[in-house]
């Protein structure tokens, strides 16, 4: 068995009296796509925020590639290869789609304290950026300002930005959020390609997407992990059926 890419030990975060995450233990193995599902308010986004560094954890440890990153700032974690997408789209609206992605490439290729050379002409940044745009099928929109893209296109751009970081681990926070049926199909197809090369944590409400993509699933309820296992195991787990999927599932 390979060493886990990400290991969470007793990870907790409270907002006042609310325990958003409550002692979470979780291992993400190399190469797997690990879905985290659970009802609204279960703490899924909080968990992603803690792992990516948006939120500081109250207690517990986060080990990334065996390295303790619990107290590391978000940009430093990104440099270690931890990339994420946001549930609420975070793109740079005044930048073109290409520039949005090229910035992610720039972040990992050399110093950005260069003040003279025009960055728009750097092929070393543009070529990988165009590749990432091609993966999400946004090549035709490369020069459109991100603010002018449709919602579905913005969701795909989010993914392209994260891919351009060439991550060791990709955290996807509801990549299908707000996307139509057609867009969802498209994103699932894209993620199928992505998962071959990348370890992913996928937080998603869309069960079709989860069962199509996940190698393992963890069910999060009220800040605790109720069950972890293969899709078949989780589907069959009586506790999960009672708590989340409902008897009908």
């Amino acid at each position: 068995m390979n060493a886990p890419v990400l290991r969470l030990e007793r990870l907790s975060k409270s907002f006042g009296a609310l325990r958003a995450t409550d002692g979470i233990d979780l291992d993400i193995l190399p190469g797997e796509t690990h879905a985290i599902i659970g009802p609204n308010g279960a703490g899924k986004t909080t968990l992603i925020h803690q792992v990516s560094g948006v939120l500081a954890s109250d207690s517990g440890r986060i080990l990334f590639d065996g390295r303790d990153v619990t107290h590391m700032a978000m940009p430093a974690r990104a440099h270690l290869g931890l990339a994420r997408s946001f549930q609420i789209t975070h793109v740079l609206p005044r930048f073109s789609a290409l520039e949005n992605v090229a910035l992610a490439v720039q972040a990992r290729s050399g110093s950005s304290f260069h003040f003279w050379q025009p960055v728009a002409r750097e092929e070393l940044l543009n070529a990988p950026a165009l590749e990432a745009l091609a993966v999400v099928d946004l090549t035709a929109r490369a020069h459109t300002p991100a603010g002018a893209l449709s919602h579905g296109e913005k969701r795909r751009l989010e993914l392209a930005i994260a891919l351009a970081q060439a991550p060791r681990l990709l955290l996807l926070d509801e990549p299908m959020a707000g996307a139509g049926a057609q867009e969802t199909h498209r994103l699932i197809a894209t993620l199928r390609t992505v998962k071959r090369a990348t370890t992913m944590v996928l937080v998603e409400h869309d069960m079709q997407a989860v069962f199509a993509l996940a190698d393992r699933i963890s069910v999060l309820v009220e800040g605790r992990i109720l069950a972890t296992g293969t899709p078949q195991d989780v589907r069959a787990d009586p506790a999960v059926r009672a708590a989340y999927l409902g008897e009908a599932a």
Binding site: A73, L103, F115
Partner: protein
């Protein structure tokens, strides 16, 4: 001679066509400024030259502030402090007999950069209103330190023994030479800031303004970039301070008063943030408004205030934005008239009696100016369409009138 002129104008037109709209405007501004010393003997002598110098010095300061406001999203309300630090560095050195270019200019740049580093390292940790307040506080601290500098004039300021010596000569005492020196500095600043905005660093700075969370998520730590931008902006403004001290041959705490910082913000907003020709236009518009309005009435701020409100309300991109809208035909003449009408009403409402009570001579002048402006706008509107079709048309007309003028001048010269 004619052929040479024609070909050089053709080359200029060809070069202009390769530039973006903003760069074209800037090129025209620089050309206009370069011609000013040649025109000034006809248009009121050295007075015009002095106004031009002030405009260019404040344009440098406004450009540096645009780097913070427009590019970095950092609204600094203490930017005049750098103007003062640069000016005081120049003045204090000069008072000790160290008024040479090789000492004074680097000293002004380094002093303002150090001040920017010390204050920016703290200020940049805050955002929004807190950033405004903390920069205001640092600016006022600098102001009060200057007033307490008793050996250097304290409240009264400090008179420079002479302008900075260049290679031991007093060449800057020649007003034309000094004018062109400032113009060169402005051009260098414009070029430098333009390159910076389009560089790796500039892209990060702009990205941080657009969405800081995204930038952190892809691995950029905002702090270092913002401090660096603050230091660069501070030292460019220090250059403006160095030039200001030389222009007035006087240094005073008033240079760093918060009101001056506010005026710099007004210049950037009036000219149009988000562009680099905007701050230059803004500095020119602000100083010329100040100059003309303060001659009409001592309550000129009662006119300037509503005018700025109108600019903010109707032309969010300032002058540069209005020009862009005009070019894309989004701004119509009717809207412009409505805005002018609104301005007139607001001014009447503000009860600026002095405006109407102005001397008849002055009124005559204003009326004539209004007529002239009316005629000019009329002509501009009727000519607009053909001009839109070919930018060259305007330049051809210009070239023809220039040729006629030259021919006329040559004929007169021969008769003499």
């Amino acid at each position: 001679m004619r052929e040479a002129l024609r070909s050089s104008i053709d080359t200029a037109v060809a070069v202009l066509r390769t530039l973006a709209f903003g760069q074209r405007v800037a090129a025209c501004l620089f050309a206009l400024l370069a011609l000013l010393p040649l025109l000034s003997p006809m248009l009121g002598g050295s007075y015009l030259l002095l106004i031009g110098e002030r405009v260019m010095i404040y344009a440098i300061a406004a450009l540096s502030l645009e780097l913070l406001i427009g590019v970095g999203g950092l609204v600094s309300f203490g930017h005049a402090a750098f103007l003062g630090v640069g000016a005081y560095a120049t003045g204090m050195l000069a008072s000790h007999g160290l008024g040479t270019l090789s000492v004074a200019l680097p000293a002004a740049l380094i002093a303002s950069a150090l001040f920017a580093l010390a204050t920016g390292a703290i200020a940049v940790r805050t955002r929004g209103v807190y950033f405004i307040m903390i920069t205001l506080a640092f600016g006022q601290m600098a102001f009060f330190v200057a007033t307490s500098l008793a050996p250097y004039g304290g409240d009264d300021g400090l008179t420079l023994p002479t302008r900075t010596l260049v290679l031991g000569t007093r060449v800057l005492k020649n007003e034309t030479a000094f004018f062109y020196a400032i113009l060169a500095m402005l051009a260098v600043t414009y070029l430098l800031v333009g390159r910076l905005v389009a560089s790796r660093f500039g892209r990060v700075l702009r990205g941080l303004t657009d969405n800081e969370m995204r930038m952190q998520a892809i691995g950029f730590t905002p702090y270092a970039y913002r401090v660096t931008a603050y230091v660069i902006a501070g030292s460019i403004c220090g250059l403006a301070g160095f030039l200001l001290a030389n222009q007035t041959e006087f240094v005073s705490p008033a240079y760093m008063h918060w009101q001056r910082s506010g005026e710099l913000i007004v210049m950037v907003l009036l000219g149009g943030t988000g562009t680099l020709h905007g701050p230059i236009l803004g500095a020119a518009a602000f100083l010329m408004l100040e100059e003309t309005l303060s001659r009409l009435t001592e309550h000129w701020k009662a006119i300037l205030g509503p005018l700025l409100v109108l600019v903010v309300l109707f032309a969010k991109g300032g002058i540069a934005g209005a020009m862009e809208a005009w070019r894309q035909r989004k701004l119509t003449f009717a809207q412009l008239l409505a805005a002018a009408d609104g301005l007139a009403r607001t001014m009447a409402a503000a009860g600026v009696e002095r405006w109407r009570l102005g001397s008849t001579a002055l009124r005559g002048g204003v009326d004539r100016l209004a007529l002239l402006a009316k005629g000019a706008t009329k002509r501009a509107v009727t000519r607009w369409k053909p001009l839109q079709v070919a930018l060259g048309g305007r330049l051809v007309a210009l070239r023809q009138s220039a040729e006629r003028g030259l021919a006329l001048a040559a004929a007169r010269w021969r008769r003499r």
